[in-house]
Symmetry: C3
Subunit: 260 residues, 3 copies
C-alpha cells in the first residue's frame, strides 16, 4: 500500500497547550510535505472508547494510504506496547490499549505489528509524551514512505478489550447502548443493523421513552425527542434544536432498545 | 478564475467530534495537494447570521481563486437548495439559507448556481451530514480544478434573507446594531460608513452610554468603555482588558447609534 | 539559513472568531505552498509569559528554518516595536514585549531586528490587528524566502522583561515557581537543573507538601500527588488522573522548592 501523504491525529491532549503542535513539528521534521489533519484533540482525557469509536468511523473518509496516529494513553511510560496496524487500506499507529478495537472489528484484513523503537533508531522516548517521541515519528516514517509496514517490528495480536460494547440481537429486536455523546448532545448508539432501519415501523426505547425513527432532524418540531439513523450508520437519539443528553440525563452506557 | 489550491471551512460543527476532520478527508480524497484552512467551527449552532458576517469579512484576505465552504445548515435533509457562487475573485459553497447574504451584498459580481448533486455524479447524500456528502465534495471539485464553476448546475437567485441587518442613515447620524460579539466580548456593529469615522468628534450611543471613538485599545485606561473602528472596518464597542458584552449586558441586536 | 516552508502560529486570539484563519489567508496569499501549524491560540488573553514559555519549548521540535509567528500583544497600536529574530536555527516574529525572552535566554546565537514595515512595502497596518497586517506578512515573507533576515530592518536589542522568572540555586537545593499550568492541571515549574533529577532522593516541596520525584504518571496510584521531570525537561507536579492545580489551589507563581 502506497502512503497518501496524509497523516491524521486523534488525541486527548486538547488544544490549550502546544502538545499537538509539537507532534506536528516532529512529523514535518521527517517530511515537510506531509498534510496533517486533526480528527479531534478533545477526547475526554483517557477515554479510550470514544477515541476507538471515532477513529473507526472517520478513517474510511480519507484517501487510501493515509496514516492515522491516535494517542489516548493512560499507560504512557509503562510496559504497554505501541502498535502499528494496516487495515482497510489505511495505516494506524497507537498504544495497545483498545484504541484500535473498533477498527479491528470492522475490517477483515486487520494486521498489527509491535513497534520496536530501538530497532527503528528512535531515541529513547520520554516517559510521559510518547505522542511526540514514538507515535508521531513512526507515523511520519510510514506516511513519508521511509518505513515499510513490514519493517515496524514483529507481528502482534491486540490486547483483548471491550471499550465499545456490541449490541445483543433477539429476533426482530436488539438491545444496545449509547456509546458516544456528540457535541450537540445527540446520543449515538451501537445499533447499526442493516435492514433494521428500512422498517418504517421501527420503535426505539430509551429510559422509558418510546420513539419513532425519522429521516432527518427537521422532520420533527423543535424540542421534540426522536431517533434517526445518523450519518455514520448508527441509530442516534436527538432533540431537535436541543440536547438529548440533557433532556434524558443520558450518557455513555445508557441502554437503548429497538424493535421492528 | 483559476483555483488557488486553498479551501476554507466555516461551520458550527465544533471541534469536539471529528466531523470537520472527516470533511477534510473527503477534500483530500479528491486532491491530497489542497491546502485546507479553518475559518472557525465555533459558530453558535445554527446561527446563520454570525457565519454570514464572518465569511464576508474573512474571504478577501485569501488568495484569489480560493474556495470557501460554509456549512451552518438547520435545514439539512429538507428541500433547501445547495449553492455554489462566484464573487470578488473567490468561490463559495453553502446551503441557500442566508449564509451568503453578506458576501452577495458586498460584491458587485455575485453569481450563484444551484448544485445538481446527481448531475455531478455524487452519491446520494445522507440526510444529516451534507457538509461531508455534498458541500466538501463540491468544494474540492472546484478547488482542484476538476469542475468549472459553470458546470455546477443551473443559475440561481439566492433566497431573500436578512440575518445581518443594515443600518439606517439620517444626515450626520446613523442607527445600527450589534451584529456579532467576538470572543473578547467586543461588540461589532454594522456601522461602517466611510467618512463617518474620520470625524474626530463622532459620538457613539449604546444603552444610555455616550462614547468617544478612539484609535486603539491602549488609548484608554484599563476597564474603560469606548468605541473604535475595528480591523474589518466596522465600529466596535469595547472595554479595555474586559468584556463590553458583559459590562453592558449587550448582545446581537442591541441598538447602537452614531453621530458626527 | 534556508526557510523550511513551515510557519507556526501562537496567539491569544482563540478559535471562536476567524482571526487566526484570516492570518493564514494572508500567509497563503504570499505563498500558497507554505505549511502552517497552530501551536496554540488559547493563551490566556494578553498573558505574554505563557506564550514565551511555550514558544521556547515548542520551536526546537520543528524543522530547521521554520518561522514562528507569535502574537500576544496588549500594546497593539502603540509605539511598541515589532521584532524578527533568528536563533537556534529558527526564525521568530513577534511584538517586542517579552514574548521572545525565553527563546533569547535559551539560545546562544539570538539576534533580533526591528521590523520596518514601511521599508518592507507593507501597507499601513490597522491599529488593532497587527497579527494580520504586520506579523503574518513578515512571517510569510521570511518563510517563502522572499525576504532575507538581514532585510527585515535594523539590529535591535529586546526590551528587558521577566515574564518567566528563573530559579535561585543554593548548594543541593533550588527555589523556583510554577510558571505554567497545563490543560490537565499539571503544574510546570521553572526547575530544570541538569543533574538534579538523576538523584533518586530528590524531594520537592510545594505549599507544605513534601513530594517524591517519580518516573511517569502511572508510577503512583490514581489520586496521588507527586512530581516528575516532564517531557520538556522541567519539574512538574501532578495528580494522577486529577488536577494538581485544583488539589493544591496552586497557580502561576506558586513557590516550589527542590533539594537533593
Amino acid at each position: 500500500m502506497r502512503p497518501s501523504g496524509v497523516l491524521t491525529l486523534l488525541t486527548d491532549f486538547g488544544t490549550q497547550d502546544p502538545f499537538v503542535g509539537v507532534m506536528k513539528g516532529v512529523v514535518l521534521k521527517q517530511s515537510a510535505r506531509l498534510s496533517i489533519v486533526d480528527l479531534t484533540h478533545a477526547i475526554e482525557p483517557q477515554h479510550v472508547g470514544d477515541a476507538a469509536f471515532w477513529l473507526a468511523h472517520a478513517f474510511p473518509w480519507f484517501p487510501e494510504g493515509t496514516v492515522h496516529v491516535a494517542v489516548v494513553d493512560p499507560g504512557v511510560g509503562t510496559a504497554r506496547r505501541a502498535i502499528a496496524a494496516q487495515a482497510g487500506g489505511h495505516f494506524f499507529v497507537a498504544p495497545d490499549n483498545g484504541l484500535l478495537e473498533v477498527v479491528a472489528r470492522r475490517t477483515s484484513d486487520f494486521e498489527a505489528r509491535e513497534i520496536d523503537a530501538e530497532d527503528l533508531g528512535l531515541r529513547p522516548p520520554s516517559r510521559t509524551f510518547h505522542g511526540r517521541d514514538l507515535f508521531a515519528p513512526v507515523g511520519a516514517l510510514l506516511a513519508s514512505g521511509t518505513l515499510a509496514f513490514d519493517g515496524v517490528g514483529p507481528r502482534a495480536t491486540l490486547l483483548a478489550t471491550t471499550h465499545v460494547p456490541e449490541p445483543v440481537h433477539a429476533g426482530r429486536s436488539a438491545r444496545g447502548a449509547v456509546v458516544v455523546v456528540d457535541r450537540f448532545g445527540n446520543l449515538i448508539t451501537n445499533l447499526s443493523e442493516s435492514g433494521l432501519f428500512a422498517a418504517s415501523r421501527a420503535r426505539v426505547s430509551v429510559l422509558g421513552h418510546d420513539l419513532a425513527v425519522v429521516g432527518t432532524f427537521a422532520d420533527v418540531p423543535p424540542g421534540t425527542l426522536a431517533a434517526l439513523v445518523g450519518s455514520f450508520g448508527e441509530l442516534e437519539i436527538f432533540v431537535r434544536n436541543g440536547s438529548a443528553a440533557a433532556v434524558l440525563s443520558a450518557q455513555r452506557g445508557t441502554p437503548v432498545g429497538v424493535s421492528w
